[in-house]
């Protein structure tokens, strides 16, 4: 029995152990890696990515998938910038109103996504993929392909103002990650995600409004994408129709690397945090140890497989797809 427990614990902590192992590995090769300043750099890179990954975590826990993040992030970032500038261009002068607005837009994108998926009975993979095209397309339509810049120093303080060596946005993200964890563990909605992911038909038979839970999940994910969009603006000082590009595969990879099962019901926000850190540590570390850039994609692939293999409980699954 004790052996069983330690094995379970090992699997549970595997992602974290992988993360620590990677940090030790990179530090051993280049001690510069292990520096507070570098950790701050990794944290900045990971901040928007974490918000996207947390958003999609809720969906994956439900056993669905959401591929609309690129479009959603781009569209919310662009709309946020327009609204921010239109409202005065500074946080003080009413620009802050753009924040709730962007959140609402994110939620709306999620809502449409959820409605298309649930009401038209289109599997989420396809519904969200198509919605992603629509989101990016809308961003192109609105910007006409141009860059929208935000110069407001107060808003940019998210990046430039440091507390204990870490920029403000890192703290914001930590707080939001806790919020997400709280939603996951201490609210009905969060627990219902697990019920749907654990057995949709059973949850339905228990009187759970599965359709509503699904749609709400997509709305919540959309809100987190909007947060990611705004952080991306804070980080780069600009938005354009490709602001959300490259988030799709990397966020889902992070979620799975952290130990969230793609078939639903297993893992959560905590796993995703670790997963995002693993992926960003790898990305940063490969440059820091001086790996030639043409091997980086292959190396990332190998490390990801290694991490997933270590954190999968092979005894409890009969097959994967």
């Amino acid at each position: 029995m004790t052996r069983f427990l330690t094995r379970e614990a090992a699997i549970r902590w595997a992602p974290l152990l992988v993360l620590i192992a990677l940090v030790i590995l990179f530090t051993a090769i280049n001690p510069d890696f292990f520096a507070q300043r570098n950790f701050a750099r990794i944290a900045i890179a990971a901040a928007p990515a974490l918000m996207v990954a947390i958003g999609v975590t809720f969906i994956i826990v439900m056993g669905s998938i959401d591929l609309s993040m690129e479009g959603a992030v781009s569209l919310t970032a662009v709309l946020f910038c327009f609204a921010f500038l239109w409202l005065g261009g500074t946080l003080a002068a009413g620009g802050w109103l753009a924040i709730p607005l962007a959140l609402i837009v994110g939620g709306l994108i999620g809502l449409i996504n959820g409605l298309v998926h649930v009401k038209l009975r289109i599997p989420s993979f396809m519904a969200s993929l198509a919605m992603g095209f629509v989101g990016t397309g809308a961003a192109v339509l609105i910007t006409g392909g141009d860059i929208v810049r935000i110069e407001d120093d107060t808003f940019r303080a998210l990046l430039t103002w440091r507390i204990a060596g870490f920029p403000l946005m890192v703290y914001v993200v930590v707080i939001l990650a806790f919020l997400a964890w709280f939603i996951q563990n201490h609210t009905t909605l969060g627990r219902n995600f697990y019920a749907v992911g654990g057995g949709e038909e059973l949850a339905h038979a228990s009187g759970l409004n599965v359709r509503r839970v699904r749609i709400t999940g997509f709305v919540l994910a959309g809100v987190f994408y909007a947060i990611a969009g705004m952080l991306q603006v804070a980080k780069l000082g600009q938005a354009e129709s490709v602001t959300g590009a490259n988030f799709m595969f990397i966020s889902i990879t992070s979620v799975v690397v952290g130990g969230v099962a793609l078939w639903g019901g297993i893992g959560g926000v905590w796993n995703t945090v670790v997963g995002v850190l693993i992926v960003n540590v790898i990305n940063n570390g490969m440059v820091v140890i001086g790996l030639p850039d043409y091997v980086q994609d292959g190396m990332l692939g190998l490390l990801v497989i290694l991490a997933v293999v270590l954190s999968t409980d092979r005894r409890n699954i009969s097959f994967v797809k």
Partner: protein, 370 residues
């Protein structure tokens, strides 16, 4: 910025019906613009349909290219809607398929300007145009063994911008600013893209004359702002204070580099970029960017289409032109803080009007192969 919104509102007004339909019902959406749109009136184009095939509408660079094409179309007395946009989304396969579909639709009577996206794609594109009887000029990407004069009159011209020389000039400026010593890092475009390769070569050329400058690292950030920001942070960890200057293969990546440095509180690091986009020029004026290279995409976009169309209507016969008129470099202007304001006034605030029949007026000479 508000001009974008204004443009958008205006655009939306024109297309409101399309837009509403598009949002409401997917399938019908495609039908509406065609059915409600104007009938094709190509009388002024001499019976030829005009098209620009390019990557996407998500960057200032391509927007400027397109605006040049549209300016040419408008100079014919047509509206800019008369130029067809063939967007390949970075896919060579779609690029080729779209061009063939365009030719088929117009029974071969198409005058096309195209960036083939990847250099090997240039050959099938020009061959397809030739076989259909259309006229094409290409920009940027083509393989070295492909020449317009080997294909015939239908492949009117290839226009490129020598990345090497301007990039070298920018690098020299950078090294001088660095005081002739210290480390420099380069952020490159998508590997194997010709401009990416050329711009790196320019940097390497300049290095030969600056023995105390060390190229610390050169990696790809895929032309992307976000990737550049992350790559720059990683450079900072690896090389730290050794980095005294940054050489970027385009403006978008320079934005990312500036933000990555801003996050660290590093100011005054000399950075050079490429493309001369409006935002970059603003940054040059503010001193955040040491220099960028303007390639006048507006003119390039206009003249590439103009060449194809004028050859099509017989305004000139390509085969009678010398080779340096069939393969030539576009202009490159190094924009520094000293001349940025002047530059902005001339090229960005007011778009200069070009005489599109002065076909090689701004040419920087024939393309030379090494």
């Amino acid at each position: 910025m508000s001009t974008f919104i204004k443009d958008f509102v205006e655009r939306e007004k024109i297309n409101r019906r399309n837009f509403l339909f598009a949002s409401a019902a997917g399938l019908t959406a495609t039908a509406v613009p065609g059915i409600l749109g104007r009938g094709a009136a190509f009388a002024d184009a001499g019976g030829w349909s005009l098209a620009w095939s390019y990557r996407d509408r998500a960057s200032a660079y391509w927007n400027a290219i397109v605006s040049g094409g549209e300016a040419y179309v408008e100079s014919l007395g047509l509206t800019k809607e008369d130029m067809t946009n063939l967007i390949n989304e970075g896919s060579s396969e779609k690029s080729l398929a779209d061009i063939k579909a365009f030719l088929a639709k117009n029974a071969g009577k198409g005058a096309i300007a195209s960036d083939p996206n990847d250099s090997p794609n240039a050959r099938p594109v020009v061959e397809a145009v030739r076989d259909a009887g259309g006229y094409v000029s290409t920009i940027w990407n083509k393989t070295d063994d492909l020449h317009p004069w080997d294909i015939g009159d239908n492949y009117v011209a290839h226009l490129s911008w020598s990345g090497e020389k301007p990039s070298e000039d920018a690098a020299r400026l950078l090294f001088e600013k660095m005081g002739g010593e210290g480390g420099v890092v380069h952020l490159g475009g998508i590997p194997a893209n010709i401009p990416a390769v050329e711009r790196l070569n320019g940097l390497k050329n300049a290095l030969k004359d600056f023995p105390n400058i060390e190229l610390l690292d050169e990696q790809s950030a895929d032309w992307d702002t976000n990737k550049a920001a992350e790559l720059m942070s990683s450079y900072l960890t690896r090389y730290g204070d050794k980095i005294k200057g940054v050489h970027c293969a385009n403006d978008n990546m320079a934005y990312g580099v500036i933000e990555a440095l801003k996050a660290e509180g590093i100011t005054g690091m000399p950075i050079t970029a490429f493309d001369g986009n409006p935002e970059a020029v603003d940054l040059v004026m503010k001193g955040e960017l040491l220099a960028t290279v303007f390639t006048n995409p507006h003119w390039g976009g206009g003249i590439a289409l103009a060449l194809a169309h004028q050859a099509a209507i017989g305004a000139f016969k390509p085969s009678e032109e010398p080779n340096e008129h069939r393969e030539f470099y576009g202009p490159s202007i190094l924009v520094t803080q000293a001349d940025a304001e002047e530059f902005k006034k001339t090229y960005l605030d007011a778009t200069p009007t070009y005489d599109w029949t002065d076909r090689w007026g701004l040419s920087a000479g024939g393309i030379v192969y090494k």
